[in-house]
């Protein structure tokens, strides 16, 4: 088992990450009233339904698209030289210095605790229809996986092949991929914990909840 205290101390020593905000598509860029050093908010609300601080607006085909901060933090770079210009897709417009939240720390530690089943190749991944149905009806914790079980459909260049799960028997604790998105080779698809591990995992989560005061 991991030394959670040590891991938390390591994270506490460097509790920030920098998030580059880029344009999702082409369009004419207009910055909102933000400046270097400003504090910004990420999406809020129970379902993150309230968007973060408006950073800029990107207009394409007369449709203005708000570009908002994805996380709480401080603006540490702002490319105001792009004001009023037509920009290409994926153009960096700002950088946010963000302090890790409790959920992000949980995420980091769980990735080190769970058994990660990784993508063998860059491709799109789907659960098989039976597993997908079960996850939708209940949740991922309801799915028990075992070595050799047909769990995924790997789709690349519109060719689909079944991908069996290999690893210890257990429950799907976390799903790391989204449908219709390409997943890089070696990126984790699911995090699996054994039935016996479950109490220990829940204890880890509890400790992070009490010990991390990031937000």
């Amino acid at each position: 088992m991991l030394n959670i205290s040590q891991l938390l101390d390591t994270i506490k020593a460097q509790p920030y990450r920098e998030i580059e905000i880029t344009t999702p598509h082409t369009g004419v860029l207009t910055f909102a009233t933000v400046a270097l050093g400003d504090q910004v908010q990420g999406p809020q609300g129970q379902w993150k339904e309230k968007r973060g601080t408006l950073l800029a607006t990107l207009e394409r085909e007369r449709n203005p698209k708000p570009i908002c901060s994805l996380e709480k933090g401080e603006i540490c770079a702002l490319h105001t030289e792009l004001e009023g210009k037509f920009v290409e897709a994926n153009t960096p417009i700002a950088t946010i210095r963000h302090m890790l939240t409790r959920e992000e720390v949980e995420h980091i530690i769980l990735k080190k605790t769970l058994y990660l089943f990784r993508a063998p190749e860059r491709a799109k991944y789907y659960f098989t229809p039976e597993v997908d149905k079960k996850i939708h009806a209940q949740d991922q914790h309801s799915v028990k996986v075992r070595d050799g079980m047909e769990l995924f459909i790997m789709s690349r260049m519109k060719r689909e092949v079944h991908l069996p799960y290999t690893g210890p028997q257990g429950l799907i604790y976390t799903v790391y991929f989204k449908y219709n998105e390409n997943i890089d080779a070696e990126a984790p698809l699911i995090g699996v914990c054994t039935q016996e591990q479950l109490p220990a995992i829940e204890e880890v989560i509890m400790r992070i909840k009490t010990e991390w005061t990031g937000r």
Binding site: R60, R156, M157
Partner: protein, 488 residues
């Protein structure tokens, strides 16, 4: 189907421009984007081009900068996003959009949007109404039947209901048994699919339901539409096509002959194309092959004239061993393999033919300027599709980094590739791993085949994937199948 009058319906609101006053947005990637850029360059038409983050090493970006300058190339989020295409077209001041093949090439909504928006442009392809009518396989089938053009027996609309699907399959099995077919087969295919994807055969009526469900689920995942078509599976056939070209009047379509595309992968994707479609002068057939070629050309022209077809297009045919042709579908776009027809064609007074230049020229409103009688063909053309894939393993795509790609140039060879030869190139997983098209001309079939083999033997193609495994390609498959070309 009403005959369409494209020039009246699609006339841009701006005054008619001469070719050089236009600017074309090349809304595609890879080798077809490069061919469009070269065609624009030859016609002295400026262009703008697009690429995505995944494609930043593609040779089409290099060629765009070389022919059009640094400012002609725009990074977009996706080739599939129509808003991106319009946005770049506006920013670059384009007057026309060339969709290439794939992506928006056969999307009538996109074509309509290009021509109907406030800042209207020209869609370089057939008018949107024609794409809508002929792009619908069912409409095409109905039109064909109304003109006495033979089509494959089966459903005449997408099927969404399992019970109905089973009824159709059952009737197709019974029909084949009545016809004396010893091993009746039914084909289930995603109605929104194409390029050979999402198609499966059913041998056993009891297996139909599971195949139907598999294709339906696949179609929903890949095409967001679970409709399927159910047809009689005709085995033992050759796949032929007829190249049609027409100007915006749609009145006098001409043809640039036939192609044979029967060498395909197990997923029914074309790998070698040959023009003309049969060689009745040198090979023996169990049917009158010359007559079949004439018939499919005549049927295709009849349909093109009926609908007022107004750009380039391809009529795809199945020809059975007994010489019966059945229309499969109409591709309302330029085909990958257009170059194989062009390489054997000449127009009196104009010389060699470039069908993409013709498509652009006619799409922008120029008159055809020649008749069928002025089109002549000479020799045989072959096209090899060089692909990173494993033919021994169901043509599974190979993904990795190409370290060396080299071949021996020859005057009879045209090599079309977006793979850079001066640096290594990582194949993006977002697209099919097509590496190159090689078009070879010979004065007859034997010479074309011999030259084809010489070319294939000269290729040096090496690379490795993330696991360190060697690149797999279909070159041996192409060599092995060269011998069988046009034999039936």
């Amino acid at each position: 189907m009403e005959k369409h009058t494209p020039n009246e319906a699609e006339a841009p609101k701006t005054p008619k421009l001469s070719l050089g006053d236009h600017k074309v947005l090349v809304a595609n990637r890879g080798e077809i984007a490069m061919r469009i850029m070269r065609a624009c360059n030859n016609l002295n038409i400026p262009f703008a081009a697009v690429y995505t983050r995944e494609d930043n090493q593609s040779g089409h970006g290099d060629l765009a900068r070389q022919l059009g300058g640094d400012n002609c190339l725009y990074r977009v989020s996706s080739y599939h996003d129509a808003n991106e295409i319009m946005s770049v077209a506006d920013a670059a001041g384009c007057t026309a959009v060339h969709p290439g093949y794939g992506f928006f090439a056969e999307d009538f909504r996109f074509a309509r949007r290009v021509t109907k928006r406030d800042r209207s442009m020209i869609f370089i392809g057939p008018s949107w109404k024609i794409i809508r009518e002929l792009g619908d396989k069912i409409n095409t089938k109905r039109l064909a039947r109304s003109l006495g053009v033979p089509t494959v027996p089966g459903s005449d609309r997408p099927i969404y209901d399992e019970a109905e699907a089973e009824r159709i399959a059952k009737s197709l099995f019974s029909f084949q048994e009545q016809q004396g077919v010893t091993h009746p087969l039914v084909l289930v295919k995603a109605s929104a699919g194409g390029g050979g994807m999402g198609i499966e055969e059913v041998y056993d009526p009891d297996q139909f339901r599971s195949v139907y469900r598999r294709i339906r689920n696949y179609a929903l995942r890949q095409f967001k539409d679970e409709g399927v078509l159910i047809e009689q599976r005709i085995k033992d056939f050759n796949h032929l096509e007829v190249q049609i070209v027409s100007d915006r009047t749609g009145r006098h379509p001409v043809h640039f002959g036939t192609r044979n595309c029967s060498i395909q992968s197990t997923g029914r994707q074309k790998r070698i194309e040959v023009a003309p479609g049969f060689a009745p002068d040198t090979l023996e057939y169990s049917f009158d092959a010359a007559r079949v070629l004439t018939d499919i050309v005549d049927y295709s022209l009849t349909m093109a004239t009926k609908v007022g077809y107004d750009n380039v297009g391809t009529w795809e045919w199945i020809v059975t061993r007994s010489g019966e042709p059945f229309l499969m579908e109409v591709n309302t776009r330029i085909q990958v393999e257009n170059g194989v027809s062009a390489c054997i064609s000449h127009v009196a007074g104009r010389g060699c033919v470039d069908l993409i230049s013709e498509q652009i020229r006619l799409g922008l409103g120029e008159e055809l300027g020649y008749t069928q009688a002025e089109i002549a063909t000479e020799g045989v053309g072959l096209e090899y599709r060089i692909i990173a894939e494993d033919p021994a393993n169901n043509f599974t795509p190979w993904v990795g980094t190409i370290e060396r790609f080299h071949w021996q140039d020859a005057p009879w060879l045209t090599m079309l590739t977006h793979v850079p030869t001066d640096r290594s190139y990582e194949i993006p997983t977002e697209f099919d791993p097509n590496l190159a098209l090689a078009i070879i001309w010979g004065k007859n079939l034997e010479e074309a085949k011999a030259r084809g083999l010489t070319f294939l033997q000269s290729i040096e193609l090496t690379g490795k994937n993330t696991a360190g495994c060697e690149l797999k390609s279909n070159i041996d498959f192409l060599k092995a199948n060269t011998e069988h070309l046009l034999r039936f």
